[in-house]
Symmetry: C2
Subunit: 298 residues, 2 copies
């Protein structure tokens, strides 16, 4: 096992490696379709916390999975995450001009290019997973494809985005808001945490512990998002804030109050830590990331 | 082998079976995400020629592939085709209000729902292919996924759409316009013709003959599209026409002239027929569809 280093250093190192992987997987091209690849690269290589890739790598390491394979799965997942941000930022959706401190894709390019770049990033994710370099066993590759499609499609992330758009109709129902967040962001975080166990043929016990960890971490992440939206400044968060309240949308903060939301996050963090106990010191960074997620300012 | 029936009857029968398959594969749901499924179903079940599914079924039958498996692949391919139409019709793209004689998805619903429904249809295509019901052999399933991703992504359909958007820049270059059409529509038609051979473990000779057939058929299809746009009436075509010329876009008609384009179609049709000779009478409907495609009025 590597000597423990500072979590920030570990996060930075992972982010760099993912950016290199994406740089290789999304080729530069000449000719008339260059604009498409350029927009895909602008969005995918433009930074971000790379939380999902970090989770793929750290959990995969628990089971001794080849890092080159983990990096490919992490990159595919980041392509899905990136496409969802591009489409979500469009004028007819959240209408955001800034993302990660830079102009969003439809501002830097145009709306049509943003839609196509999102479609192409979605598609390339499955192309990456299907490639033999991702895993020697076709049964594992097809499972990676099937689960990603489920977690990101109509009964996963996209379904959650649809629910979020009509969130006013969800009303003051904490169960409905929790389910919306579970679909919108939770299922892909669960995917990130589970694929390493899948690729490394982990025991059922280990899989269940990681699923439970992912569930609590994902929800804590999302409640923190709502807290940041309610109290953060645009400068810190790097995108527009205070939009939820303006839209009269039910959030964890509107439903639980600011203090109630913070208590819920703290409870979920304790639970997430408890689920990791079976992995001992090997889950060092998976433990540390919990605090980073709930204490973040952006 | 089935007794030959009228081609129109055969097409209608295929279209009905694909609609039933899509009806099963895209579930109706209750609750807040119902709007998403409803838009997906509106687009996918709303008719269309179902040319690609027809090609999947007819070529798969040449090699004795189980029809239930062929129907799943055909449905997945139709989900990709349908998503591309939804996104292509958006105001920032082709801005079409009508499709198949009905309001387009962003008119019948709204733009955000149209984007999400397209994303979800794209995703469900891979979910369908990855399912064990599509083929017992995971190597075949993963090949179906890999090829569909390649044919529909940045170096396939989406890349072609990007080129089409900036078609003015392609200028009067027949090679560039041909390549754009090859990417935009040709690669998915090739996929439709090749998957049956892949699933049925056809000989290399048979595969090459079908690839060549697909190439000529796809190009003939696209040149016919340009001819219809130049001379058709909106009523017959069921969508807006005369748009290419209005945009000063290079098309096969602008490059070859109306008569030159028609001669090219006729030549491609002869070539396509010749490629089928090795299959004899078993390719009856694949032969007949050539004329249907080039003689269509919409």
């Amino acid at each position: 096992m590597d000597l423990p280093v500072d979590l920030d250093k570990r996060l930075e190192e992972t982010a760099d490696r993912i950016t290199v992987a994406l740089d290789t997987l999304i080729p530069r091209v000449q000719g008339p379709e260059a604009r498409l690849m350029s927009a895909m690269r602008y969005a995918a290589l433009g930074g971000g916390k790379r939380l999902r890739p970090f989770l793929v790598l750290e959990t995969g390491r628990l089971f001794g999975v080849d890092e080159r394979c983990l990096l490919r799965v992490a990159a595919a997942l980041e392509c899905i995450h990136t496409y969802s941000l591009i489409h979500d930022d469009l004028p007819c959706m959240d209408d955001d001009d800034m993302r990660r401190g830079r102009p969003t894709v439809h501002i830097a390019y145009d709306e049509a290019t943003a839609i196509l770049a999102g479609d192409a990033l979605l598609t390339i994710a499955f192309e990456i997973l299907a490639d033999p370099q991702t895993h020697a066993d076709p049964n594992i590759r097809i499972a990676l494809v099937a689960r990603l499609a489920e977690a990101s499609g109509a009964r996963g992330m996209v379904g959650g985005q649809m629910m979020d758009m009509i969130a006013e109709e969800l009303g003051d129902d904490i169960a409905a808001v929790t389910r919306m967040q579970r679909l919108k962001t939770g299922m892909l975080i669960t995917y990130a945490v589970e694929v390493g166990a899948l690729m490394g043929r982990a025991s059922d016990e280990a899989r269940h512990a990681l699923s439970a960890y992912a569930h609590d971490l994902g929800l804590a992440f999302q409640i923190t998002d709502d807290i940041l939206d309610a109290e953060g400044s645009e400068d810190e968060v790097g995108k527009a804030v205070g939009k939820d309240e303006g839209r009269g949308k039910a959030t964890f903060v509107s439903l639980l109050g600011l203090e109630g939301a913070k208590q819920r996050v703290s409870l979920l963090a304790d639970q997430a830590r408890a689920h990791l106990s079976m992995f001992g010191a090997r889950a060092h960074y998976l433990n540390l990331i919990i605090d980073t997620i709930i204490q973040r300012r952006a």
